[in-house]
């Protein structure tokens, strides 16, 4: 292993270790917030694979997140499935739906791709409302008591363990993928699709792989979020949940492995802090993004990488 590789692995493992320590030592309130952030960061990490590395600007990721929410929530509600296998099912539901959407939507590119994915997500949202008797529709479903998450563990501990595990897997898989052959081709597609095609790579399969991976991450995050925080509802399929991961990624740094985590945490505390000061929380978020685009268009980590820390993956 080269020195640079070692450095990258050590950095990522150190971040994970620090998160583990934080979860253990933070007061319950902040530890729960961190569990939320980690779960949402899984979503953002997945989005980053499609958008940050492959250049697929999707406006339909809420669909994959909601597929995860309901892929886990429905079997738990109606068949009494235990939470951990339910998360696996949610993950598969997200990936499955991403495959279907990808097969159709990837026939388009650019603005058309954005619109087609947006339409699919909207159709998904309306489907959840249409089958309201089963899905709970706009009101949603209450998930079982969090004491059932991991038998023997307190809800707070179980939440921390599951959120940490999901994020650790997401981060490491993302790191392995982007450092693999596939990851390099993904970046090539983002930079110059025609040239990559000329070199013999099939853009469709590469982009589909990225989208499916991204969907698996979104599904896992959705399933985790529903079960850890006790609620599944159609609101998770609204456009807001397609925009959120994009904002997280833009803020943290698109095309950086740790950017999504950083962006999610920054955005979470920005909204949380702004809510106490003003009703215009979205304005605060908007201003933050405008400033970011003016002064650090590549996000926090992207800018750091540009200004010296070139090893950041």
């Amino acid at each position: 292993m080269k020195a640079k590789d070692t450095k990258i692995w050590i950095a990522h493992l150190a971040v994970l270790a620090a998160l583990g320590v934080l979860l253990a030592v933070l007061p319950a309130y902040h530890a729960t917030n961190l569990a939320r952030i980690l779960t949402l960061a899984v979503f953002a990490t997945g989005y980053n694979l499609a958008f940050g590395y492959t250049g697929l600007l999707s406006l339909g990721h809420a669909l994959f997140f909601a597929a995860g929410v309901y892929g886990a929530a429905l079997p738990v509600t109606y068949w009494g499935l235990s939470p951990l296998p339910a998360i696996a099912l949610g993950c598969l539901a997200g990936g499955g739906l991403a495959t279907l959407v990808g097969l159709l939507a990837l026939r388009t590119a650019g603005v058309s791709f954005m619109i087609v994915t947006l339409m699919f997500a909207q159709a998904g949202y309306l489907t959840l409302l249409y089958f309201g008797q089963i899905t709970g529709g706009d009101e949603g479903l209450v998930m079982p008591d969090a004491t059932a998450l991991i038998p023997g563990l307190s809800p707070d501990t179980a939440r921390a363990v599951i959120a940490f595990t999901l994020f650790a897997i997401a981060l490491l898989v993302s790191l392995i993928v982007i450092r693999s052959r596939l990851g390099r081709v993904m970046v090539a597609m983002r930079e110059n699709e025609e040239r990559s095609r000329m070199l013999g790579y099939n853009p469709f399969t590469v982009k589909l792989s990225a989208l499916v991976l991204s969907g698996l991450f979104a599904g896992a995050a959705g399933a985790g979020y529903a079960l850890l925080f006790g609620y599944a509802g159609a609101s998770f399929a609204t456009i807001q949940y397609s925009i959120l991961p994009m904002l997280y990624v833009l803020m943290g740094g698109a095309g950086t492995t740790l950017g999504p985590l950083l962006g999610t945490a920054a955005m979470f505390y920005l909204v949380d802090g702004a809510a106490r000061i003003t009703t215009a929380t979205l304005l605060v978020v908007g201003v933050a993004l405008v400033l970011l685009i003016l002064f650090a268009p590549k996000g926090i980590l992207g800018t750091l990488r540009e200004r010296g820390a070139r090893w950041i993956p």
Binding site: R36, L126, L129, G132, G137, E139, G140, A146, F236, D272
Partner: protein, 424 residues
């Protein structure tokens, strides 16, 4: 004699001893009674789709808070409310519950929208913090939530809808066509009204569900059967204005069925707005009459003045700012119930939260009074749900005038849950 500061006089020694004896006679009162303010968290729809309601919920909460504090607070302690915006979003709602609990609030109250309540209640239950909702959703009494979630300030939609059926069947007609939004709120109306009108010997002859994305309704109106005697509508949001106008165009000046709707469609909307002329002569459910009625009670008059609503149901400072009068009273009544519950439980600190919930569960009748200006109520401790009187109003000269007030019994139904058997 020069007074020596270090040698106390006989008088001061006697005074000190006296104070000591008095203090020791009331040990609990002197030492355990905290004078720190009671801190209530308010989960507020300040932004998002619930903002029109949120604005009035906040004003009502402030007015009720002032009244409670002017009257000596709760158990002699001052009360403060910490408002936190939930953006009318269930995800943010759960975060807000957590934040308010972390800020040391004794309890949380105030949310209206069902999805926010359902998204937040599990977290409140886990944190073991009383969560008092002002939502009118059937989610509390249906048994969906938990022991820490209660609705003591407003009758739920199942009861509201059921209590309308006797009067509708007796006065408007027995063949009903329902037009409702195609999601959960609409289904509550569809299911419970269909059942209730059947019990009155009537029937729902057509159910027309309108998808939430619809902006025009002309293609649905021909589906209303010609033999319809009563058209029951519960459209929500800005679409209601288009709906009413198109309904007017559809029937023209010819014969039309009787029309009955839920004021939820027109909360915060002036019934005399241009385009709503067709509503003249039609009927609405109102929990509390926004227009001042003859014989308004003194309690209601005091409430109306305190929350700053004029005789037409709008803000006293801006006639265009129409209140959400049929819902916001629940905030006022909930705060007064909190006071009654905390005082009954001898509430001292967050360690007494369970005692507070038990005190609420033990409540039954709530007489009409300054704390219950909407009317007397019956609280069901098992289902955690309150039941009150409802009103039916007719639009007369652009104003909603009461034609009927239901009894509490009209809205009663069999218990679906007994929360008191669940663990805390």
């Amino acid at each position: 004699m020069k007074k020596d500061l270090l040698v106390p006089s006989r008088r001061s020694v006697l005074k000190g001893m006296g104070a000591g004896i008095v203090a020791s006679a009331f040990p609990g009162y002197t030492w355990a009674q905290s004078s720190a303010p009671i801190k209530l968290g308010f989960q507020l729809h300040r932004t998002g789709i619930g903002a029109a309601y949120g604005r009035w919920y906040e004003r009502t909460a402030q007015a009720a808070l002032k009244g409670v504090n002017d009257a000596g607070g709760i158990g002699g302690r001052p009360v403060e409310i910490l408002f936190e915006d939930d953006a009318t979003d269930p995800k943010r709602g759960a975060e807000v519950v957590e934040k308010l609990a972390n800020d040391g609030c004794d309890l949380i109250f105030g949310p209206l929208f069902s999805h926010v309540v359902i998204g937040s209640a599990p977290r409140a239950g886990e944190l073991k913090i009383p969560y008092l909702v002002c939502s009118e959703g059937y989610h509390v009494a249906s048994g969906m939530l938990n022991r820490w979630t209660l609705q003591p300030g407003i009758t739920d939609v199942r009861s509201q809808v059921s209590s309308m059926a006797p009067w509708v069947a007796a006065n408007l007609g027995k063949k009903v066509t329902m037009v409702y939004p195609d999601y959960a709120f609409g289904y509550d109306h569809r299911d419970f009204f269909t059942e209730a009108i059947k019990a009155q010997g009537g029937e729902v002859i057509a159910q027309i569900a309108i998808p939430p994305t619809e902006t025009t309704f002309t293609r649905y109106l021909p589906q209303i059967p010609a033999e319809t005697e009563v058209l029951y509508h519960v459209m929500v949001g800005p679409a209601v204005l288009t709906f009413v106008k198109e309904l007017g165009d559809f029937y023209g000046s010819g014969a039309r069925p009787q029309i009955f709707g839920f004021i939820d469609s027109l909360e915060a909307v002036d019934t005399a707005s241009p385009g709503l002329e067709f509503l003249e002569g039609t009927y609405f459910w109102e929990a509390m009459n926004r227009v001042k009625q003859d014989g308004q009670s003194d309690h209601e008059a005091a409430y109306r003045a305190a929350v700053g609503v004029d005789d037409n149901g709008a803000s006293v400072t801006d006639a265009a700012d129409v209140s959400t009068y049929s819902h916001m009273f629940s905030v006022w009544e909930t705060l007064h119930t909190i006071k009654a519950g905390m005082e009954a439980a001898g509430y001292q600190s967050t360690a007494d939260r369970q005692k507070f919930v038990e005190a609420l569960e033990a409540m039954t009748t709530m007489p009409e009074g300054p704390g219950n200006p909407q009317g007397d109520k019956l609280f069901n401790g098992k289902t955690h749900q309150v039941f009150g009187h409802q009103n039916i109003s007719q639009v007369t000269g652009g104003k909603l005038m009461r034609v009927h007030r239901t009894s509490i019994e009209d809205g009663q139904y069999a218990d679906a849950v007994d929360y008191t058997t669940m663990s805390f």
